[in-house]
């Protein structure tokens, strides 16, 4: 293994001093560059796994009536393929790239929270292992990557595969939220002074916008997963008959799932927006429109999920509204495609490998976008939904756009990371193999879908045309595998023997190229002046610099305190989680359930305990005020009062639970009990977390830590505590008061 260390040292991934303990140097790293690389390597490992699964799928489907795989095996393989590629490949690799590049592009020394960064990363391999552990525990999930209920419920999937699936996605979801809170805080709080918000490079801008999408969307999935797990493990009926609703799962899943598509697409848009201008030797056409359309896409993507449900029978009324909103997304997306194209027109295009991948991505995404609109047109979706036409469409997005953009970006930035250029010759080989293989595989699938081939079938009858089209598709998949092997070979060879890259091999213009390749631990020795969006262009072309992007002072230079920023972002994400649980409560209790219901709750007692909780918001506010006025002992007093009041609330809730248990009401009694315990239970859990945080603060304060100025921890915990109290206002109204009116 020490050869590996040698290689790493040679490629600048290890400093000579770290040679002795090189494993620890990497495993315990909190450096954003190393974490970025770890993310990408993890993604690559899972890409191999998911790729082998893809090849198994294509082998099985190569000929009609195939018996290569048992149907259950096939179903596990495609479920794992989808889950792996989305959650363990696309997201980690994109977050890894962002991790490496964003701090460099904004002239920061590191991410805002290096240790949170490491934590978020380590959740990825952990989640991945958890998911794959299901193979040993009786079989992987075989329910598709969106695990539609009731198939994913215990009566129809009795083995623990789905449990591992849900747990692993929960873990990965928490990791993603952590990583993206970090991106928000990094972009807002760690920018170089001259890097105003309107001068951000487009990749950074899109990662920043995307981070909001992640923290809004992932918690929705987490809420759904929690409900699914409660169904499976505690025998309840959120999504099962009688009483439960299979459609509810689809709403929750796609309220996450559609933004998820953009969560992986927007960073890819960012990659294209970086690379196409550099190799066209022109600035991006319409920066404002490319940046603004990203915000439009992010917002719209949150409100279009029901177009995944056009065939589930929501009715034409609902369908019509979602046709409209879904098709609208095409507009900002189209604006992007047109701006990229316009960037190339009038440029002097260099056809290096990164650019080749981006051009292919652009053209393929154009087709993917158009077939996407055909899915927004509900009547067409009624025919093409769940067919191979749909499979082809989303692979055109996920592979045609995202994987191609990632490959382009890797060819573009690996010289920065390793200090060595990749081989152009091998790069072009892998590019052409990839383009030919990809289009063979997936263009064919459009026609298979139109010929009536449903997705997720493990084999098919020998219908006219199906056999040869599937065979073409399979051959294409193997060409893609060959392309990937060439790429990995290129990576290995170039890391060892590649030409030295120098700090700016592509004559690019953003800040990451202003430092050495690989960058030093602290990223920059000195930053160049930044007056526009292309600081290095301005230096290289003093005769024709970019127009200065003005600063309007406070807003452009907006730099909030990072602890507060992160806790506010966290609160935003929690809102989504509780929002879903509250909506679920309202939905399932709109008509009072038979058996126990909300009228049986003791409003008076709960009201009294609630007053304690609300009072604790006041006490912590006083504690903050005391700290500001430097009254240490008063502050400690108010802090203690807060803990006591919070403790009383928790004890009160415990008593209420005990009372309910004694009268025979448990989480599986009926849907009222299920939603009641889920909602109040998760709130209680948050109160407990808040109490632990407050106790830690109290301990620190007693030890004298709060005498340090500033002491942002109290503000951060205070915000969180107010949020927990605010959630209780809603829970109290919805659960206790509303049903009595």
């Amino acid at each position: 293994m020490s050869e590996l260390a040698t290689v790493m040292e040679r490629t600048g991934l290890l400093s000579p001093e770290e040679r002795e303990h090189w494993k620890m140097a990497w495993l315990s790293t909190v450096d954003h560059k190393r974490i970025g690389i770890l993310y990408m390597v993890t993604g690559l490992v899972f890409f191999v796994i998911g790729g082998i699964e893809a090849l198994l799928i294509r082998l099985q489907l190569a000929v009609p009536n195939s018996t290569l795989l048992h149907p259950d095996t096939y179903n596990m393989v495609f479920t794992m393929h989808g889950t792996t590629m989305i959650f363990l490949v696309a997201m980690p690799v994109l977050f890894g790239l962002a991790n490496y590049i964003v701090p460099l592009q904004i002239g920061a020394r590191d991410m805002a929270f290096p240790r949170l960064n490491a934590y978020s990363f380590w959740l990825v391999p952990f989640g991945g292992i958890l998911l794959h552990f299901s193979f040993l525990a009786g079989g992987a999930p075989a329910v598709g990557w969106f695990a539609y209920a009731p198939l994913s419920e215990t009566p129809y999937s009795s083995q623990s595969g789905v449990d591992y699936w849900a747990l692993s996605l929960l873990v990965l979801g928490i990791g993603s939220v952590g990583a993206n809170i970090n991106f928000i805080a990094t972009v807002l709080c760690s920018r170089a002074p001259q890097m105003t918000l309107r001068r951000l490079p487009l990749f950074t801008w899109m990662i920043f916008v995307n981070a909001f999408l992640v923290i809004l969307a992932l918690p929705v999935l987490n809420a759904g997963l929690v409900m699914l797990l409660i169904d499976r493990l505690l025998n309840t009926h959120f999504f099962l008959m009688p009483g439960g609703s299979a459609i509810m799962w689809q709403h929750i899943f796609w309220a996450f799932g559609h933004p998820e598509v953009y969560i992986v697409a927007i960073p890819a848009f960012g990659l294209l927006s970086e690379i196409i201008p550099v190799f066209s030797r022109k600035p991006i056409f319409g920066y404002e429109f490319v940046a603004g359309s990203t915000v439009a896409i992010a917002f719209l993507s949150l409100g279009v999920w029901a177009h995944h449900m056009f065939t589930v029978g929501l009715g034409h009324t609902i369908d019509l509204f979602f046709i409209a909103s879904s098709m609208l997304i095409a507009i900002p997306t189209g604006v992007k495609v047109l701006n990229w194209s316009a960037t190339m027109i009038g440029g002097r295009i260099h056809f290096d490998t990164p650019m080749l991948f981006c051009i292919a991505a652009l053209l393929q995404f154009l087709l993917a976008g158009l077939t996407g609109v055909s899915h927004a047109v509900a009547p067409l979706d009624w025919q093409t939904k769940n067919s191979y036409y749909l499979v082809a469409h989303f692979h055109f997005v996920f592979v045609g756009l995202i994987v191609f953009a990632i490959l382009g970006a890797l060819h573009y930035w690996i010289p920065k990371m390793s200090g060595r250029l990749l081989s152009e010759r091998l790069g072009k080989w892998s590019f052409w193999l990839m383009v030919i293989g990809f289009n063979m595989t997936f263009i064919t699938q459009h026609f298979l879908g139109l010929a009536g081939m449903a997705r997720r079938i493990y084999t098919y009858a020998d219908l006219p045309g199906w056999g040869w089209m599937n065979m073409v598709s399979t051959v294409g998949a193997f060409l893609m595998a060959a392309a990937s092997l060439v790429f990995v070979w290129n990576l290995v060879v170039s890391l060892l023997f590649g030409e030295k890259a120098g700090s700016n091999p592509w004559n690019a213009w953003t800040l990451e190229w202003a430092t050495t390749s690989p960058p030093p631990h602290e990223n920059f020795r000195a930053l160049p002046p930044i007056t526009s969006r292309r600081p290095l262009w301005d230096i290289a072309n003093p005769d024709r610099p970019d127009p200065v992007v003005g600063s309007r002072g406070a807003i452009d230079q907006f730099k909030p305190e990072k602890n507060k920023t992160s806790i506010v972002s966290f609160i935003i994400s929690e809102t989504g989680f509780f929002g879903i649980l509250i909506l679920a409560f309202l939905y399932y209790n709109a008509v009072p359930q038979s058996g126990p219901n909300a009228r049986g709750l003791d409003l008076l007692k709960t009201g009294l305990f609630s007053i304690c909780l609300f009072a604790s918001s006041f006490t912590i506010w006083r504690a903050e005020a005391s700290l500001r006025n430097n009254h240490q002992r008063k502050m400690i007093g108010w802090l203690t009062a807060t803990i006591v009041l919070g403790g009383i609330f928790i004890i009160g809730q415990g008593l209420e639970y005990w009372h309910l248990f004694k009268s025979g009401i448990t989480v599986s009694s009926n849907l009222f009990a299920t939603t009641f315990f889920t909602l109040t239970g998760f709130h209680g859990l948050h109160v407990c977390v808040g109490l632990i945080a407050l106790l830690i603060l109290l301990g620190l304060a007693l030890a004298g830590d709060s005498k340090k100025k500033p002491w942002p921890a109290l503000d951060a915990v205070g915000l969180y505590w107010h949020f927990v109290d605010l959630v209780w206002v809603f829970v109290l109204s919805v659960v206790y008061i509303l049903p009595r009116l």
């Binding site: 915000v295 409100g303 007056t531 610099p545 200065v548 309007r552 406070a554 807003i555 709109a590």
Partner: protein
């Protein structure tokens, strides 16, 4: 009554609305005179009257929940926005009490108005009682003005910064969407008065049920969807305007030496 007859005949002459419109037009002309922004003010008045005098109002008056929702959207979002745009740029909203100019107050006004008036018994009351209806109408316009003044107040310095405004509008959009989602998928009737077709003064019930194929469930669904989707588009439109404001400000052109 057929659809065409209905659309022609269902105009009401609500004297209070007409008086309010006339008086406010007079007040506008006296205060600001004839300016280039008068057009916006006339548009606001036109939509105000459209919401209150046209067949929309006739339908909202006990027939269709969705028409009632359309009326709400016009009065809460469109009319106040046009009003604010029609004011001269020097006009200040910085009046006491100061609390009304706080963003949180504006946010609660805009979002609260929607939630408040869709509590079942209040929703019923607004249809069955004229005074409650008048209060509702007035409150929608006033609260809407409070809401929008944070974003499009005449004076630049009284507006939120673009990122702040985006957050303000987005959170309002999400909160209204939540209500829209509840209305759309609710298994119960939110505003029961619309589902009992007892009185039918305009003799239009049949047309609505058979020609328009509108059932009470569908009606509530459309109402919910109007609040969920088009209303969000209004907020989104405003968000895009904020993004344009953010990127669009003239960048001073200097040539670095």
């Amino acid at each position: 009554m057929s659809t065409q007859q209905f659309l022609l005949s269902a105009w009401s002459w609500n004297p209070i609305a007409l008086i309010v419109a006339t008086v406010s037009l007079a007040a506008y002309l006296i205060a600001f005179g004839v300016t280039r922004r008068l057009g916006w003010f006339l548009a606001a008045l036109l939509i105000f009257l459209l919401a209150l005098l046209s067949p929309i109002n006739a339908l909202a008056d006990g027939y269709l929940f969705s028409a009632h929702m359309l009326q709400h959207i016009l009065l809460l979002l469109i009319v106040p926005a046009l009003l604010l745009v029609s004011l001269p740029r020097s006009f200040s909203f910085n009046w006491p009490p100061r609390i009304l100019t706080h963003p949180l107050a504006g946010w609660i006004a805009g979002v609260g108005a929607m939630w408040f008036w869709h509590y079942p018994s209040l929703c019923n009351a607004a249809v069955s009682s004229r005074p409650v209806y008048a209060v509702q109408t007035a409150s929608l316009v006033i609260l809407g003005t409070l809401f929008w003044s944070q974003v499009i107040a005449p004076r630049e310095e009284e507006r939120l910064s673009p990122p702040g405004a985006v957050l303000y509008l987005f959170s309002a959009c999400v909160t209204c969407s939540a209500l829209g989602i509840i209305l759309t998928f609710s298994p119960i009737t939110v505003c029961p008065i619309y589902s009992i077709s007892a009185a039918d003064p305009l003799a239009i019930s049949n047309t609505i049920r058979s020609t328009w194929t509108m059932t009470p469930e569908r009606d509530q669904q459309i109402g919910g969807l109007l609040m969920w989707v088009p209303m969000c588009f209004i907020y989104l439109g405003a968000i895009f305007a904020q993004i344009a404001r953010w990127f669009g400000e003239p960048t001073s052109i200097q040539t670095a030496a």
